[in-house]
């Protein structure tokens, strides 16, 4: 039952082959077997058996889930049509507010915060009949690419190899879906935080167009970059989940009023004649030399490069036209620009966590207001938020803003122009999508990169341009490297054309359905079966 797709599970619930409650119980039972201790503050040493667990969860919302599942079954009993996600088990990244539920953002400063309202996206999932299993772990305030910076430990472990990171920041989301703890998960993507961990965990992760899904109730990181999006085990499931969430929201003026297309029926169409580009700028790893600032180029992991060519061949066989050598010259600036813009917004967004209204407040005696702020934030915020506050404050300071922040905004525009150029119907490339690696490497070992903020950020270099540009992107599994770690490929499309990139992704999935690598199961599940 666990390995069913969300789509199949919902079908079985609708046809009364399964009850929502049975599905819920099976998942809760499985979570107890594979997840291990939930993340908590001041966690001590990780025991050997616990080291082999997933640790996706911070909070299990069993009561809420039972209520929701029973409601779906009751509706079916009474002949009322349930929503499109009827009974689908879903985890929610712990960055979304859920009413009367602990909403920690993976930070000590919100460790005691119970939200008094529910985020629009979560609300829509619930209204569609989704069953919220719990809140899953993440990098603190989503600041990271490995989920290791959470104040709630243990951090999530990669279900394919528990010595590896899940990626991040939606690591709890992608790990929970990869380990069959849930069929779907709600994540957020600011610089790649859905797609990068999706690639590392071998699941599908979709970053919608900025504004396609409401941000109301998502604790902000980079407000101009943040996108809530689905994590699933298939493109079809992701399409179903996006369908439930997308659309205008009177509480978010940056949410688009554009009509939401029927994503599922869009998947039915074939991809013949679609133009899919490959860019050399996505086939090299670029990193700034920390001493000189000069950019050093390195090849990306060979197997990932090969996976792109293999998948391009699959798509070509399906009738797509592959366009090579598409120049995306500003890709290399993505990470630097992100370092500036996201930090400025993050520093400002963190201002409200001051110990005055909610959340953690220092227990020490304070002599004045300044002390209250200082000690609360020193104790309540982890290393990453502090670094980002410092950086954000610096590059937006009156005397530096022109040099850094204002300049970064201009380069961001240039990155956007790269995409507008290649997707322009009248341009020389007039692409429907760009096919790229999601990440330069597969999942790294726990602790291997954590602590090196620049290196960590470079894990996002192929995902972050889409956030700057606001365009949609999807990461889908495309095999494994030699060590058995998942490889993700990414499709980037024009504004509001989630339907196009999902169509291509779905076609690829269908074409590779019988491939040997599709039979592989994550370590945590294999071990359970053995």
């Amino acid at each position: 039952m666990l390995e069913l797709s969300a789509y199949e599970t919902i079908e079985k619930i609708r046809t009364r082959e399964l009850t929502a409650k049975q599905v819920l119980e099976a998942h809760l039972d499985h979570i107890k077997k594979v997840d291990g201790v939930p993340g908590k503050l001041d966690f001590g040493e990780l025991s050997e058996p616990e080291a082999k667990k997933v640790h996706a969860f911070i909070t299990l919302t069993e009561d809420l889930a039972y209520q929701q599942a029973e409601e779906v079954d009751r509706q079916l009993d009474n002949g009322i049509a349930p929503g499109i996600l009827a009974g689908a088990p879903i985890t929610v990244k712990d960055i979304f507010c859920v009413k009367d539920t602990l909403t920690t953002a993976g930070s000590r400063i919100l460790s005691n915060f119970k939200a008094p309202y529910t985020a629009t996206s979560v609300n829509r999932l619930q209204k569609a009949g989704g069953v919220i299993l719990g809140k899953v772990n993440l990098d603190e305030f989503t600041y990271g690419s490995s989920s290791e910076s959470s104040a709630f430990k243990p951090c999530p472990h990669n279900p394919w190899d528990t010595t590896r990171v899940t990626g991040g920041s939606s690591g709890g989301s992608t790990a929970s879906v990869a380990a069959y703890e849930a069929a779907l998960s709600l994540g957020t993507d600011t610089g790649g935080s859905i797609r990068q961990p999706a690639a590392f965990c071998g699941v599908v992760g979709l970053k919608p167009t900025y504004g396609r899904v409401s941000r109301y109730g998502l604790i902000a990181f980079g407000s101009s970059l943040d996108c809530p999006g689905p994590v699933a085990r298939s493109v079809k499931d992701a399409a179903l989940m996006l369908q439930a969430m997308a659309g205008a929201d009177p509480r978010d003026s940056t949410a688009s009023n554009r009509p939401v297309p029927d994503y599922l029926s869009a998947l039915q169409k074939d991809i013949r004649g679609m133009r899919i580009g490959l860019s050399p700028d996505y086939f090299r790893n670029s990193m700034p030399d920390l001493e000189t600032g000069e950019i050093i180029y390195e090849p990306i992991q060979k197997e990932i490069e090969q996976a792109i060519y293999d998948s391009a061949q699959v798509l070509a066989n399906l009738g797509a036209e592959i366009v090579e050598d598409v120049p995306m010259p500003n890709t290399i600036h993505g990470v630097s620009v992100y370092f500036v813009i996201s930090r400025v917004e993050a520093a400002s967004n963190l201002h409200r966590f001051d110990g005055v209204k909610y959340g953690y407040r220092t227990g020490k005696d304070v002599s004045d207001l300044h002390d209250l702020y200082r000690l609360t934030r020193v104790e309540g915020l982890g290393h990453q938020p502090k670094l980002r506050i410092l950086m954000g404050m610096y590059v937006s300071a009156a005397q530096y803003s022109a040099q850094y922040y204002q300049r970064a905004l201009k380069v961001r525009r240039m990155i956007r122009d790269d995409f507008e150029g290649i997707f322009d119907k009248k341009g020389s490339y007039h692409l429907d999508a760009l096919l790229t690696p999601t990440t330069p490497s597969t999942a790294f070992e726990l602790g291997a990169v954590y602590g090196n903020t620049v290196m960590m950020q470079c894990a996002d270099q192929f995902t972050v341009p889409a956030n700057h540009a606001g365009i949609p992107g999807i990461s889908i599994p495309a095999g494994f490297d030699q060590t058995g770690l998942p490889i993700g490929i990414q499709l980037l499309g024009p504004d509001y054309r989630e339907d196009l990139i999902m169509r291509i992704g779905h076609a690829y999935e269908q074409a590779t359905q019988t491939a040997d690598w599709r039979k592989a199961k994550p370590q945590v599940v294999r071990e359970l079966e053995e």
Binding site: A115, P116, A119, T254, V344, A347, H351, R352, D354, S396
Partner: protein, 479 residues
Amino acid sequence: MTDYEAVIGLETHIQLNTKTKIFCSCKADSWGDEPNTNICPVCSGLPGVLPVLNQEAAHKGALLAAAMHAKIQPVSYFDRKNYFYPDLPKGYQITQYDQPIGVGGYFDLPMPEGYTRHIRIHKLHLEEDAGKTKIINNERFVDFNRCGVPLVEMVTEPDFRSGDEAAQYLVRLRQLLRWIGVSEADMEKGHLRCDANVSIRLRGSEVLNTKTEIKNINSIDAVRNAIAIETERQIKQVEAGNRIESWTLDWDADTGTLEKMRSKETEADYRYFREPDLLPLILKPEWIEQVKNSLPELPLARRQRFIDQFALSLYDAEILTTDKALSDYFEAALKHYKGEAKVISNWITNDLMRILNDLNLSANELKLTPQRLAKIVKLIDSGQINTSIGKSLLKKVQEADQDPGEIVRREGLGLVGDEEAIRALVESIIAQNPAEVTSFREGKEGLIGWFLGQVMRQTGGKADPKLARQILLELLKQG
């Protein structure tokens, strides 16, 4: 003695009288509410919330910009002003920084002395108010009710030359705000707050010297006094050979003194940047035109027209344009009356104003409508009632909410013009007051007034005075 002049610019914060707050649906006005009873996740800055602009605030901001002859910008932006304070729940204020809704503009300020000061407006921007902090017994209490109340900050160029001018500007601004209906402009309730930038220079000089900023001057007298005191202080400093430092000063209304808050050098860097949670505020040219066209005739223009068109005195025209409702009332009454403007003006400035004050009503709330007032004056003109009955009718009409003619009929207030009745009354008065009759006949003719008083008293003031006098003289002289 060197001749100095003050150079003053004002920053006013104007609370817009919208129904709801600027970025959420809480009601905007919390006056008298218990602390923290008019708040929601948005205005109290909970994690994850987003602002959504109240279109009514944008409309009222644009209307004010139009009234100040400012350019309403077709595209303006919101920005974050970042700083920490307990009553600022998000840790930043959403405001408009470099691309505000209104730029430029002016206000021609008439001074009681007779001259007009041309005040240039630098800009107007929309922003949200912060909450209130109170320290009681060394404990700090925060009330978020005011968070998110819509404000327009309007900044003038340094064009005032005295505290009196600044004070007069606030008087006129308050009048204008109420006139165009964008703010209640009640300074006691903080609807209109003011900071002043003050510097001095030698009269005739064009330089701008170092200025100080006076915060929290929230009454018209306070503006006048604080600026006067600060100007004096600066002159003394310069005369003593000292330099003016760019301080921020706090006006203490209780003691009437200025306290130094901080030096400018230590002021925070607010790290302004565009508010990513809001879209640019885009106002279509047709919409802007519509706003401009919807602007009523402004008070000073109307005042001038009253002088020109109706030959009223400046004094009367000023009273009649105190507020828009009153000047509308005047013109409506005049239209119904169709006679001398001065007559209606007198009735309004003398009698109607008293009723408005007593009942604490605005002219448009009166049951004594302009039409009814005109009718009362016409009844007097035609001799159907006398002036004192007319005056008493004002209150009666207001209380009964009835046509004046109707009340006159019902209460029998019409003048007694019946010669027989008056003659009979006069005869009885003469019979009852032999002493006074004798005195009159012996030559004390001034007693005629006393006799007339008797007639009026006994008829409740309704006797036609001319007729009564005629009959009195006739019968008294007969003896």
